[in-house]
Symmetry: C2
Subunit: 412 residues, 2 copies
């Protein structure tokens, strides 16, 4: 079964990989229109998922991720149209030269091939992932969570019909209806047909992909992000950045999870920052020093430093130097987004040079790590691995390259 | 034990990753000098490996890969000096912009981190891999084959002493002395410390890495490369290209393994090309049509089309169109280097567009797929995977990237 899906994806990919930009864009606009035209059908499928989820006792915060409504479908349609309007990354010549022997060597962006996206209970990922793959010439195999399967099937059906009408094979987008773990594991080992696996979801899903997959994986999305308030920080700026980084949207991977404060500024900074956090409903898991200075906190234990709360909770610790802050981040960080607040030039330089993460910030909120904010358009996730691409994965990161070498009979 | 190696590599990497170009170059020149100064010691270690290999009945063609002599050591020293002279890829700003909110975003090349190179019986790889990793700021864990262990230990010792003298931690380069399969498997699962695994060797080694590794792998080096002689080919040019691609060095991955000839030109091209191949000692495993036209060949069976001979053997087949050639290459190729010989503009375009490989050639030998020939300098291998980098892996491919985002208090 999974073999069959892989084979179909590869066959569709051979056509899609050389499709013109205008054909791909036509398909994307037709997807956008079809989503709106078939909204009722998608919503009634979604209702079934939601009802089943509530019967199974799913928490309402999770049900919220599962629910679709007309506004969300319109947002999905707008997403498809936005991707149509974005630049096509395929065919771009990224470098080129003529060698001394006259050989002309061009490096050209080509699709990765077949991308399998494994995700959880958010049906909008079905659309987001599919349209980004389509635009970048990649066939998509979508494997969402069982909670959203009825919604996902409805969305995939609408997309498949639309792209077929646009003259592309329906199998450019396939949804895996088998939502078992065995099915996912089989997909992760489909090296013959699948070029890349992109997991979108929590740490457990990503770990499962890294451990079980023989297909190359792009890790995304775990963010144990820190804000370090240096002794030379502007406390008012630090407060605004910490509160924004933590409380503007705690459930996302670029939210701050841990606060480090230099001991020389702690007496003034701790009450200012911590009370602003409390005013934004954030609980503080503090080390002993911060707990002593700000009693409206609970004492942290060792496990706090490595925890991605994704909630209105932050861990907080006093450090004696920027070096201690860097060491702490090296030990506990996940390589996502790390921030220093400082007015000191050399300290800022040391931090940006020594902290190894996808994005390192000086005097700005970690919440900016995002494809849209970086100016890349829609993203398929934030890569926290070092291979292939790091940070927000836009369309241009869903490509590989090919050298085209043209000669007139050269031999070596 | 392997954990300990990983931990030491990570600690060394923290220093190496921010070392200046001049420090790294000093270490490289000191390695070059030390290799020559300690040549006797390395050669006597090598003699032990060679003696043991012959006692164990190793084939002389393989013994040849294992043997070092003064000239080979001088070539290794020159290799280290050449890498010192090459551009440092680290710190390069590859893109940058100022966002509407005033945030400045720069994308900077950084080291991958800790690279484990797993290879077979060529002791020169110990040097080649180490110096490329060092220059690109990556700590190297080298795991060569047991056949070369004494030579590898001698070379690694010389290198470690040299880089320590240059002011860098000796653990920037570590050789794994445990050459068991269990040791290699443990290395492949050292995700906490190792960022990338690069296998350098035959198809079996690469398969083992892909199947067992949880650390990301860059696949290198399997090349079932084709030359397709189109009906509009210049037969004289085609003959020269095929003979060069096959016989100039049959044991390397960019050598041609399979010849496809259009039926409309076969009557003239087959005798010309096949007799030139025979004159270069190449055996021809031919399909029935070619065998009928050129009896000094043996009949191929299905297994021939997928075989990388790495020897004076070529498979040969008649096809009825460029589309059949492309389909055959899609089915049997390994995505390394593929060539068309043609005078026809549209056929050439179709071939370069539809063939999915690291390098696609028009009217030139596949043997040019090489870091030096492409102008990239020394290479650590030819990537045949689509993730991260494809084709010759030079210094700039041994890097990741980091976004450095500087602001003045921006929040989202």
């Amino acid at each position: 079964m999974m073999q069959e899906i892989g084979k179909k994806a590869k066959a569709a990919e051979r056509i899609l990989s050389t499709a013109s930009t205008s054909t791909k864009n036509r398909a994307l606009y037709m997807i956008a229109d079809a989503l709106v035209a078939n909204a009722e059908q998608i919503l009634s499928a979604n209702m079934k998922d939601v009802r089943r989820a509530r019967l199974n006792g799913m928490k309402e915060t999770l049900v919220d991720r599962l629910i679709l409504n007309r506004a969300r479908i319109e947002a999905m349609a707008k997403g498809a149209a936005d991707v149509a309007a974005a630049d096509d990354p395929i065919g771009k010549v990224t470098s080129g030269s003529v060698r001394p022997n006259g050989l002309k060597i061009e490096k050209v962006a080509v699709p990765l091939g077949v991308i399998a996206v494994i995700y959880e209970a958010r049906p909008n990922v079905t659309l987001d992932a599919a349209v980004l793959c389509l635009k970048s010439g990649n066939a998509a195999i979508l494997r969402g969570g069982k909670e959203a399967i009825t919604s996902n099937m409805a969305i995939a059906n609408v997309m498949r019909k639309a792209i077929e009408k646009a003259g592309l094979p329906a199998d450019c987008i396939q949804l895996v209806e088998d939502t078992t773990h065995e099915g996912a594991n089989e997909l992760m080992r489909l090296n013959k047909y699948v070029d890349v696996i992109i997991p979108r979801g929590g740490a457990g899903l990503i770990k499962a992909c890294v451990e079980n997959s023989t297909v190359p994986v792009i890790e995304t999305g775990t963010g144990n992000c820190h804000v370090y308030v240096d002794k030379m920080a502007d406390i008012d700026m630090a407060t605004k950045i910490v509160v924004n980084a933590k409380a503007s949207r705690p459930s996302v991977c670029n939210a701050c999870e841990s606060l480090l404060i230099h001991e020389d500024i702690a007496r003034e900074a701790v009450p200012a920052i911590c009370s602003a956090l409390r005013a934004s409903r954030v609980l503080i898991h503090a080390d002993e020093k911060i707990h002593a200075m700000f009693p409206d906190s609970t004492l942290a234990d060792e496990s706090d430093w490595g925890t991605e709360y994704l909630d209105y909770i932050i861990s907080a610790k006093v450090v004696s130097s920027v070096d201690e802050a860097i060491d702490h981040i090296t030990k506990y960080g996940t390589g996502h987004s790390e921030c220093i607040v400082t007015n000191d030039y050399f300290t800022a330089n040391k931090f940006t040079k020594s902290v190894d993460a996808a994005a390192v910030y000086v005097n700005a909120s970690t919440r900016f790590t995002d494809g849209g904010e970086f100016g890349f358009g829609a993203e398929i996730g934030i890569s926290t691995q070092k291979l292939h691409a790091r940070g927000p994965l836009g369309l241009s990161n869903l490509t590989s390259e090919k050298y085209i070498v043209t000669g007139e009979g050269q031999i070596r």
